[in-house]
């Protein structure tokens, strides 16, 4: 009996130990980014290459998703507004919802799934096939080449993709509104821009920077610390998506609180 108690205690503390060790490792990994990002040599070519991969190659998926979100959201909002005879408010309502929350959130979640898992799997497979060790023993800095470049690329490209998603979603919304309410494009966008404030756009871009940083950092961290062969690569890719999505929702919640403080002033 005493033996059982000891075992249970040991397992419990082992898990807590592992949790805090994981947090400390993650913190060190993030800290290292800020230590390395400003120090030469700079891998500009690789940053551009990663920006292309993350940005351009995500466009088809982002376009389709953004467009559908615009149409569906408009369709779902119409009945509630029409009860009050307020369908003319549709462009304003949709614009605010898309720019403030849906555009950044949808883009970040899709990027977490597509880009985050890709980074996790790519770096993870490099880790288990000793390619990262090969970089290290040839006196090059694998962290700088693999992690710094990818994190910079996601941090810069996610805000660009968010603005693009906003535009595509608004176009989807316009097509729906135009078909049902016969509103012209100029009237639609006049209403959109009259309802969206500078704070909305600015806060959307700032939080997208954080989303991008999170996606890149989590993908790289999970890949860089993967082990146990191909199974580990799969786990790294999966964990990259789950953890970054979780963190994106927390960041969204926090940003909402912070932005509300500015709105109240």
């Amino acid at each position: 009996m005493a033996g059982q108690t000891t075992t249970r205690k040991h397992v419990f503390s082992k898990k807590i130990d592992a949790f805090f060790k994981g947090l400390a490792d993650a913190w060190k990994f993030v800290k290292r980014f800020f230590q390395e990002v400003f120090v030469p040599p700079y891998e500009f070519k690789e940053v551009i290459h990663q920006c292309y991969r993350i940005g351009v190659e995500s466009l088809p998926l982002i376009s389709l998703t953004g467009f559908i979100v615009g149409i569906v959201f408009t369709n779902q909002s119409r009945p509630s507004l029409s009860e009050f005879g307020a369908t003319s408010w549709l462009p304003s309502l949709i614009a605010i919802a898309i720019v403030r929350a849906m555009g950044p959130l949808v883009t970040a979640l899709i990027a977490a799934g597509k880009v985050g898992s890709g980074i996790g799997a790519e770096i993870g497979s490099m880790k288990v096939t000793e390619q990262i060790d090969a970089m290290e023993v040839s006196a090059t800095n694998p962290y700088k080449f693999l992690v710094v470049t990818r994190v910079l690329a996601t941090t810069f490209m996610i805000p660009v993709l968010v603005m693009y998603t906003d535009f595509v979603a608004l176009m989807g919304a316009f097509i729906n509104v135009n078909a049902n309410e016969l509103v012209s494009i100029s009237t639609f966008f006049a209403q959109v821009f009259s309802s969206v404030t500078f704070l909305d756009i600015f806060s959307s871009i700032i939080k997208s920077l954080f989303f991008g940083f999170t996606i890149g950092m989590v993908g790289c961290y999970k890949g860089y610390n993967s082990s146990k062969g191909t199974e580990g690569v799969g786990r790294a890719a999966n964990a990259a998506v789950v953890v970054s999505m979780f963190l994106i929702f927390i960041e969204e919640l926090l940003s909402l609180q912070i932005i509300n403080l500015f709105r109240m002033k």
């Binding site: 040599p41 790519e122 497979s125 490099m126 096939t129 000793e130 390619q131 060790d133 090969a134 970089m135 290290e136 023993v137 040839s138 006196a139 090059t140």
Partner: protein, 252 residues
């Protein structure tokens, strides 16, 4: 032998992974321009030994001196300077699979030797690809190469920085017998042509016999035997070394 310059000196080296003790007091000297073959069964810590040598792992105790410097005490910059003198050929070649052969070889070159012109870089890469007999693969991706070709390109990539010590981790693992002989010849050619000192990690006795000046057999975390092939193997009294020899095809 003792009059020659020692480039690596290992004393009382210990390394454990959790509760598993892998190296238990290893002593070893590596002399300039010799080929030392480290033999042992899988999991005996052969690769761990050379990974400590390049700073990929750290020993728990003991010393690992390379060119008179204790590896575990080197800072990042000094360690990188040391790594430029040590070429490491990985068991699975570890070629960067998103890069062509040329880019694989350019990667360490352009990051470590500044101010090279494109012409100089191309010349160096082509020269080394010629040396390993694979000039035609320059624009191929690693996925398009055979196992033996990958090993050769891996060796060429390590040679691009002109290392003084070459570490070969299981150079013939997973290759057919003819390719094994080709790789063994390549290891000898590299030594003759580039005057390198080498450690070859293997459990393949034919590779050991063909490439090694001295053999070191790792048994239960320590070197059980050290000497030439003839001194260590044919008349070994230690049953573990004898069985290692008997079970190898070389005996048949």
């Amino acid at each position: 032998m003792d009059n020659r310059e020692k480039v690596v000196v290992v004393r009382d080296l210990y390394k454990a992974f959790g509760e598993l003790e892998v190296l238990k007091g290893v002593d070893m000297d590596l002399y300039r321009e010799e080929n030392l073959v480290v033999l042992g069964r899988s999991g005996t810590g052969k690769s761990v030994l050379i990974k400590i040598m390049v700073g990929l792992l750290q020993q728990d105790s003991g010393s690992m001196e390379v060119f008179g410097k204790e590896i575990s005490r080197l800072g990042v910059r000094e360690l990188n300077e040391m790594r430029l003198k040590i070429g490491f050929s990985f068991q699975n070649s570890a070629l960067y699979d998103s890069m062509t052969v040329r880019e694989n070889m350019e990667f360490p070159l352009v990051r470590n030797i500044k101010n090279l012109t494109k012409k100089e870089i191309s010349f160096r890469i082509e020269e080394l690809l010629d040396a390993v007999g694979l000039p035609q693969t320059i624009n191929q991706m690693p996925s398009e190469l055979s196992g033996g070709q990958k090993k050769r390109i891996g060796v060429a990539r390590t040679l691009v920085l002109n290392p003084e010590i070459m570490l070969y981790d299981e150079p013939t693992a997973g290759l057919d017998p003819i390719t094994c002989v080709e790789i063994n010849n390549l290891i000898n050619e590299v030594r003759e042509r580039y005057k390198t000192t080498s450690i070859v990690i293997t459990h393949d006795l034919s590779c050991a016999k063909q490439t090694g000046d001295r053999m070191a057999v790792l048994l239960e975390g320590q070197f059980g035997a050290l000497g030439t092939f003839e001194e260590v193997f044919p008349h070994a009294e230690d049953q573990r070394i004898k069985s290692f020899y008997d079970y190898n095809f070389i005996n048949s």
